[in-house]
Amino acid sequence: MADQVTVSRKAALTARGGSAEAILTPATAATRISLRAGAEALPALSAALGVTLPTRPKTSASSGQRHALWIGPDEWLVFDESEADLMAAAASSGTLHSAADISHRNVAVIVSGPGANVAINSGCPQDLSLAIFPVGGCSRTILGKAEIILFRTAEDQFRVECWRSFSPFVFGLLSEGAADAGY
């Protein structure tokens, strides 16, 4: 008889690191959806999700633990840090849209500290000065050779979303950048 084995999910990222200038922490588990919808569906989707989907480039909207990030003219990343069921919420809107559950496709690294922008700029070409990339600003961009979604949650804190399989690379590059941020 085979023994029964209980398997637990292994987190993609468990390391902590960085430097005094830029601290790196894996973000807690969250539910995420990649949402595509036309302009006429936005009011119903916003009501169903409980957060107003932003329509201006590089902007986001938050309501409690739930955040909606503008990615493209008809594309949003919606994530919920309390792991609420976003797929069910989107489906309850009753309007034409496409929602893909990407909760486990992405992982996120929180980069915080006075050198957070320097650490990210070690691999990301975007201007992260507060005037150009304010708090609440967000953008899909690149970090080295990996695509990331960057979300500024505070003046000295960013959330870096990346694909799960890219996370060791992203974490490693951010660690190098964080080590350099003090100089």
Binding site: P57, K58, I71, G72, P73, E75, P125, I142, E147
Partner: protein, 106 residues
């Protein structure tokens, strides 16, 4: 770093976020099943590859994901203008005239 203005993000971004996607304003023949092999070859394969001003499609693949069109100089790599997909092709003489005016103002 070469900066490209994305008409959807309304901002200049690094070239690293973009990918070129060939010539712009290539209209697919509506009677594609009826045209001759030579006509298909001309539509599908043959491009001008001019020295100087060219109209191209670009995609902001590591950004908003949109295709847009750009007027670019193949010698200097300078982007004269970018505009959203579906918008009419800008007039060549207008672009070159405004470049001359810029040059004269300097």
């Amino acid at each position: 770093m070469l900066l490209i203005y994305c008409p959807y993000c309304e901002e200049e971004r690094s070239e690293l976020e973009f990918r070129g996607a060939g010539d712009a304003h290539i209209a697919r023949p509506e009677n594609i099943a009826d045209i001759t092999d030579e006509e298909f070859e001309e539509y599908f394969f043959l491009r001008q590859n001019p020295k100087g001003l060219i109209f191209e499609r670009w995609r902001h693949i590591h950004g908003c994901g949109r295709f847009f069109n750009a007027a670019r100089d193949t010698v200097s790599d300078r982007f004269y203008t970018t505009y959203k997909a579906g918008e009419p092709k800008p007039d060549v003489s207008d672009i070159l005239q405004s470049e001359q005016n810029k040059g004269a103002a300097k």
